[in-house]
Structure formats: structure tokens, C-alpha cells
């Protein structure tokens, strides 16, 4: 993010910058398209995809519904493996624990593999403040660390950088001019980071899954840097969101089937590692000491909330980003939080418990349902976006137009005939174009209550120019709304009627 961009306070401002950046738009589109297509092919080739999704969803639902049991079991088993387990309610506590460990180890440097939790904690800055060098070792993360930026995609963090910019950053690090050639640049990074791995005191990782029954933590990756981080340094710290749990290795087969295919279209990532505690006494590699920091940081706020509990099922694959027509057009930085795309639009305000955040993030969506259809564990993200907007209005933070839109929504949902005719128009993006009770299909999306809210900051002409393209994207990627989604939205509306005005979230 450049300075002007990072100073932009709202999604619409940041999206404005993103939309004006031709390279970024093309890069994001190209990458998401590649990943989306990869996922499509991989899931089709695997077959019975919906049965696998349903199984994945059931495993996640079951685990979260019994999270106290499974998390407790994980902690006990991990201790039995010889790991030190810690609990942190807040980001600050997790940071304090990490720093304490670093200080006790008199650490000079920490090598890190990609961890979204660590992004939540802003840990690199904290380590820096006590004089510990933190080195990101995932190639993309390393690049954006050199550029002092944040990830713009959950799977491909440096999606927004071109090879010339990357060559410039790496040349500065190398002290000589490197050509913008991928193989040469990657070769430099391999060599440079080898040194860092071998001299680092601490290795720090995230955690894709934690297996309750054996206290093991599982990492998926392609580069091998997570393996390096968990093999070479003497001390290892794993940062783990409290909801990462699955009960057994058998359940891992389902996650291993869903996650790589959904993220990149691979049958399995190049490496899948199950780490069960520090090195055994006679082993000659692996960490002598292993710490697992289990982090809440807003996650438990979703427990018991019927509209948002399923957020905890997320396996962080990024498929919803790649499927989202809005993400594809504005990129990750426009969302302004650690997580971007549809999952970020819901997760950021949910974790932050921050009503003000609802103001714009939840509006950066066309509610087309593509995110739900892409989700390997069937999280109803578009329902959640509607719920967020509703809560915002109930909290008195909505504007009049939007409130009217809500009424329009009720009007449609409350009348079967009107509802059907609206459904036949296509996706939610165009459906929610109700204004003063009428449906305006042509330019509605720009003006309705849920108008794709990044637009006002843009020159109107340019957005309108772009809308047909975006609309095509929506149609192409999502097809018709599934009856299941429509029914659930309807049910939700019924529930809303019976609990009007109440605001249980946050």
C-alpha cells in the first residue's frame, strides 16, 4: 500500500485507489482467475464435491459445537507430547507471551512462515521493538515485508507486486542489481533465507489444523519454508487460532481434500506436515522447545451467535476471494483489515467487535452468493453480510436509503410471487436494487440500499463503464442462486421479524 492509499480511511477510498491502479486490477484478476479455475478443475476431477463439502462442514460444525472438549483435549495431548501450551485472550496477551519467550531465549532473530494470526497480532513490529529481527520466509511474504506492506491475498500475499518492483526490492537487499527474472530472484531468496534459517533462534508458524486426539499441529505449504521453520531453529512458537481444531487424523483427510483444491487447485500441497511436540530426545533435528499459543482475539464472540458462529468453520483457503467479483476488481488492500474478500468483510468486524467497521466493509460485496458456492465448508457468507448490514441499521448506523432497501427486501421476501419474479432476474447483486418499492434493473446496483458501496468515490462514468463487466463476472461465476440460499435468507427474515430491534452482536 502506498502512503496515500494507506491514509485512505474507508473501503471506498481505498477501492478508489485500487481501481485506478491498472496493474493491480489486472494482476488480481489474472491470479484469482487462475486459482478459481484450478479449484473448479480439481473439484470436478475429484468428484462428489458437494458431499465432501457437506462432510467438511459437518466436521467443523461438530468440532465448534464441542470446542471446549476438543480444545481442552488438544492442550492436554500437546503437553503430553512435550509442548508448552499457552492461552491468550487478546492480541496483546499473545504478543506479550511471544516477546517473553524471545527474551528468555535471548533471541536475536525469528524466522516466520506464513501465518494470518501473526498478521492479526502485528507481531513483527512488536519483535522489532525489543530488538529481535523477524524474517518472513514465504517468498510472497518476504517480498511484502521488504516493501513494508501487508498481504493482499490470503494465499498469494504479493499478488499486487510486479516483477520489476520485486527485482528492485530484492536488489536493494542483495546490494547488487538483480534482473527481473523469476528464477534468479527466487534463487537469491533461497540463498539469503538459508542463512537466516540457520542462524535464527526461534521459528514461528501458524497452524492450519490442530488434531485434538494426539495434540499434533498440521501445516500445509508449497515452498518448504514452514518445514524449515519447524525443523531448524532450537525454539519453535506456533500461533494458533482457538478454532483451528479437528478431532482426528481421519478428519484431516477431509480437510486435506478440501483445502488445497479450494486454495490453488492442487490435489495436495507439496508439503503437509504433522508436528507432534518438540524433537524427541535422540532426534538430531526439530526444535528442543516448542510453544503453542492458543489465541482467542475475538473468535469466541461468534460462539453462540446463530448468525455468525459458522465463521469459525473457515479453513482459510481463499476460495471466496477468488470467486468474489468485488474482490477481483478492488484487490485485498481495499478491505483495510488482515483478512480481505468476503471472509474478511465479515470476519474483520466480527473479530474487532467494532461497530464502526461495519460502516463500509460489509458493503463491499454484491451479495451474489458466489462466496458461499465457493466455500469448501459452506459458510453462508452472503447471509452474514446481510446480517451485518441489518445489525448496523438496527444500531441506528444505517442511512435512510439503506433502510428503505431493507424494507424493499422484506417486501420482496414477504410476497412469493414478487419474490419469484425477482429471483428470476438473477443474482442478489441485481436483485437488491429495490428503491421506493420498484425494481430498477438497469442502473439499480449503483443506487440501491446495498449499492456496491465502493462506487461513490469513483468517477461515475468509469464505474458505469466497468459495471457490465462486473455483472458478467457475477453471472458467469455464480449462475442462478441456489434454492437453499434463497430459503435460508427467507428463514432469516422470519427470525428477524420475531426479534426485531434486538442487537446481540458485539
Amino acid at each position: 500500500m502506498n502512503t496515500a492509499e494507506s491514509k485512505a480511511h474507508s473501503v471506498k477510498e481505498r477501492a478508489g485507489y485500487a481501481l485506478n491502479n491498472e496493474f493491480l486490477r489486472n494482476a488480481v484478476k489474472f491470479t484469482t482467475e487462475r486459482l478459481r479455475l484450478g479449484k473448479k478443475l480439481a473439484s470436478e476431477e475429484h468428484g462428489n464435491w458437494d458431499e465432501w463439502r457437506e462432510r467438511g462442514r459437518q466436521i467443523r460444525l461438530h468440532t465448534i459445537a464441542h470446542l471446549d472438549y476438543y480444545l481442552n483435549e488438544f492442550a492436554e495431548q500437546a503437553r503430553a507430547n512435550g509442548a508448552h501450551v499457552h492461552f491468550a485472550e487478546t492480541a496483546e496477551e499473545a504478543v506479550a507471551l511471544s516477546l517473553q519467550i524471545a527474551e528468555h531465549k535471548s533471541a536475536k532473530s525469528v524466522v516466520k512462515s506464513k501465518s494470518m494470526v501473526s498478521e492479526e497480532l502485528h507481531l513483527n513490529k512488536a519483535l522489532d521493538s525489543i530488538g529481535v529481527e523477524a524474517v518472513e520466509t514465504d517468498l510472497g511474504e518476504y517480498i511484502i515485508q521488504l516493501a513494508d506492506e501487508t498481504p493482499s491475498h490470503i494465499i498469494i500475499p504479493a499478488i499486487h507486486k510486479n516483477r520489476y518492483q520485486i527485482a528492485e526490492l530484492l536488489s536493494e537487499e542483495a546490494g547488487e542489481t538483480l534482473p527481473p527474472d523469476t528464477a534468479i530472484m527466487a534463487g537469491f531468496v533461497r540463498m539469503k533465507l538459508r542463512e537466516k534459517f540457520l542462524e535464527a533462534d526461534i521459528g514461528m508458524t501458524g497452524c492450519n489444523f490442530a488434531i485434538a486426539e494426539t495434540g499434533s499441529m498440521v501445516l500445509f505449504e508449497n515452498e518448504g519454508n514452514a518445514r524449515m521453520v519447524t525443523t531448524v531453529p532450537k525454539t519453535q512458537i506456533t500461533l494458533m487460532g482457538m478454532e483451528r481444531i479437528i478431532p482426528s487424523w481421519a478428519d484431516l483427510e477431509v480437510m486435506a481434500t478440501l483445502l488445497p483444491r479450494s486454495a490453488t487447485g492442487q490435489k495436495l500441497t507439496v508439503y503437509m506436515s504433522g508436528i507432534s511436540g518438540p524433537k524427541r530426545e535422540l532426534d538430531a533435528d526439530g526444535p528442543d522447545e516448542m510453544h503453542i499459543i492458543i489465541i482467542d482475539n475475538g473468535r469466541s464472540l461468534q460462539l453462540g451467535d446463530p448468525e455468525f458462529q459458522e465463521l469459525l468453520n473457515c479453513i482459510r483457503c481463499g476460495a471466496c476471494l477468488n470467486a468474489c467479483p468485488v474482490y477481483r476488481h478492488i484487490g485485498g488492500h481495499a478491505y483495510g483489515g488482515t483478512y480481505s474478500g468476503p471472509i474478511g468483510a465479515v470476519l474483520t468486524p466480527a473479530l474487532n467487535k467494532n461497530v464502526a467497521e461495519w460502516d463500509d466493509i460489509a458493503n463491499a460485496s454484491s451479495l451474489c452468493g458466489a462466496c458461499y458456492e465457493a466455500c469448501p465448508v459452506k459458510i453462508p457468507l452472503h447471509d452474514m453480510l446481510v446480517s451485518l448490514r441489518r445489525r448496523k441499521i438496527e444500531a441506528g448506523r444505517g442511512d435512510k436509503l439503506e433502510a428503505m432497501g431493507m424494507k424493499g427486501f422484506s417486501a420482496i421476501m414477504g410476497n412469493a410471487k414478487r419474490y419469484r419474479s425477482v429471483v428470476s432476474l438473477g443474482k442478489w447483486g441485481q436483485k437488491f436494487v429495490v428503491r421506493n418499492g420498484e425494481i430498477r434493473t438497469r442502473i439499480g446496483p449503483l443506487k440501491g440500499w446495498n449499492s456496491y458501496r465502493v462506487t461513490p468515490s469513483l468517477p461515475k462514468q468509469s464505474f458505469r463503464d466497468r459495471w457490465p463487466e462486473m455483472e458478467r463476472d457475477i453471472r458467469r461465476t455464480s449462475g442462478q442462486m441456489e434454492p437453499e440460499i434463497a430459503n435460508r435468507l427467507k428463514e432469516r427474515l422470519q427470525q428477524q421479524k420475531s426479534r426485531k430491534g434486538e442487537d446481540s452482536h458485539g
Binding site: 462432510r55 459437518q58 466436521i59 470446542l67 471446549d68 472438549y69 480444545l71 492442550a75 503430553a80 508448552h84 499457552h86 492461552f87 485472550e89 528468555h104 517468498l139 498469494i156 500475499p157 510486479n162 516483477r163 523469476t182 527466487a186 531468496v189 533461497r190 538459508r194 540457520l198 494426539t214 495434540g215 499434533s216 515452498e223 518448504g224 519454508n225 518445514r227 524449515m228 531448524v232 482426528s248 487424523w249 481421519a250 483427510e253 477431509v254 486435506a256 481434500t257 495436495l268 500441497t269 507439496v270 508439503y271 503437509m272 506436515s273 504433522g274 508436528i275 507432534s276 511436540g277 524433537k279 524427541r280 535422540l282 532426534d283 538430531a284 533435528d285 526439530g286 492458543i294 460462539l303
Partner: protein, 245 residues
């Protein structure tokens, strides 16, 4: 810092952690609106969908599929009939690539390859054969790493290796080239057939590291341009051997 002081600090942390753990779990139960669940709940959806458990390929199909998947991921798969051919394959590759240092797991099965005799010019080292050596650094400098696969899964084209005192995690990770020897009777159709065994054996039987390897280290982080060998081995051979007597 002395061990004693360190131990004191760790036990303090543990005491704090255990208290916090109770608060955490009580908090979760309260938010879920029920009492704490203290014994294993019935898990009706454990593992893959039922139909998947019946899925089995015959041996030849497993080998064909493994090979196709492994090569699609950028790895190389070769099939040989016996141990002598494995030995010859490794020797030929070492000569072809001028491998100066070969690090292998300290396994009896690999002793039998007699690489020391067939490659007199190369330095052949066995993992953790001497106590006063930094084996990670040795692995980082090795040209070849040679391992026996504990298992393989055809459906995903994956090799599984488990750590042990004589089997370093670094050997399959740090050298430039990885050669994994896979006796075909260790080949399964599905990942789940391997994972199932970790549940069966239980926690106490697990090594510190279990790694599934499905090709060379790769990244597409620079302009979606696929790069091989970013951190781990860029060249990976799976040597499938029919009979490793």
C-alpha cells in the same frame, strides 16, 4: 540463562496457562449455552464420506496414478525392479549431476545400497551417525538427500516420511536433490489409509515430525510464475521398486 532459571520460568508459565485454560473452556461452554463437555462426544461425521472408504486401486493402477500425479506436480517417478537397480539409479544420477555430498537416512535398508562402494569419489554421510556434528548444517550443504518412504499415496502422488533419531527431517528438506525410495508394497490408494494408522497407533506412537511430500518445493508468488526449489529440494525423484529384498 541457566537451565534451572529457565525451568522455573516455564513452570510459572504452565501454572498460568492451566488456570487460563479453565477460564477459556468455561467461557466457551457459557457462550455455547451449556455445561462443560468433559468426555469425548459422539462424532458421527468422523473422517471421509462412507463411499470413499471402499475406493481401492489395484497395484498397477496405484503405480500409474502415483506416477502421473507426481510428475504433474513437477517431480520425477521411475520404476525399477530390485535393490540393485535402485543403487545403480542413484549412482548414475550422482555422476550425471556431479553430486559431491550425499546424505542418507541411517537405515539398514539404505546401507544395503552400498553407495559408499559405488560412488567412491562422493562423500556419503548417514544421518546422525556422530553425536558432535551439526547435522542440520550438513544437510543444508548436501547435494543429494536419500530417504526411504514410510508410505506413499497414489491418489495425491504423495510420499510420507516419519522422523526418528536415525531419520532426520532435514534429509528430505535441505539438500538440493531428494531421492525417495518407495518399495511398492508401501503404496496405498488414499491418503486416509495412511492417516488412519496415526489414529490407530495413538499419540504415543507418533514421531515429532510426519511429512507428506508431493513434488519439488514450489512457489508462484512472483507474478504467478511457477518457480521450483524455493526453499526445499527443486529436484525430486520417487524411485518405485517392485522388490526390495
Amino acid at each position: 540463562m541457566g537451565n534451572h532459571a529457565d525451568g522455573g520460568w516455564l513452570s510459572q508459565l504452565e501454572e498460568r496457562s492451566r488456570k487460563k485454560q479453565e477460564l477459556f473452556m468455561d467461557g466457551i461452554a457459557a457462550k455455547l449455552g451449556r455445561d462443560r463437555v468433559r468426555s469425548a462426544p459422539e462424532h458421527p461425521f468422523r473422517g471421509a464420506p462412507d463411499f470413499w472408504h471402499e475406493f481401492q486401486w489395484p497395484l498397477e493402477e496405484k503405480i500409474t496414478q502415483f506416477t502421473a500425479n507426481f510428475e504433474a506436480a513437477g517431480g520425477h517417478a521411475v520404476r525399477v525392479s530390485n535393490r540393485e537397480e535402485v543403487s545403480r539409479f542413484i549412482r548414475d544420477k550422482a555422476l550425471e549431476m556431479s553430486a559431491a555430498t550425499i546424505l542418507r537416512q541411517r537405515e539398514e535398508a539404505l546401507d544395503l545400497l552400498e553407495l559408499e562402494e559405488s560412488l567412491p569419489e562422493a562423500m556419503i554421510l548417514s544421518w546422525n551417525e556422530a553425536a558432535d556434528t551439526d547435522w542440520r548444517a550438513v544437510a543444508a550443504k548436501a547435494d543429494f538427500g536419500v530417504v526411504m518412504a514410510d508410505y506413499a499415496a497414489a491418489y495425491t502422488g504423495s510420499i510420507t516420511v516419519k522422523s526418528a533419531p536415525h531419520k532426520g527431517r532435514s534429509v528430505s528438506l535441505l539438500p538440493t536433490v531428494l531421492i525417495a525410495v518407495i518399495p511398492v508394497d508401501r503404496m496405498y490408494t488414499r491418503l486416509g489409509e495412511i492417516l488412519f494408522q496415526f489414529d490407530q497407533g495413538g499419540r504415543e506412537q507418533l514421531p515429532a515430525g510426519i511429512h507428506f511430500i508431493s513434488g519439488p518445493s514450489r512457489s508462484a508468488d512472483i507474478e504467478n510464475d511457477l518457480t521450483i526449489g524455493v526453499h526445499g529440494p527443486g529436484i525430486v525423484y520417487a524411485v518405485l521398486v517392485d522388490s526390495y529384498e
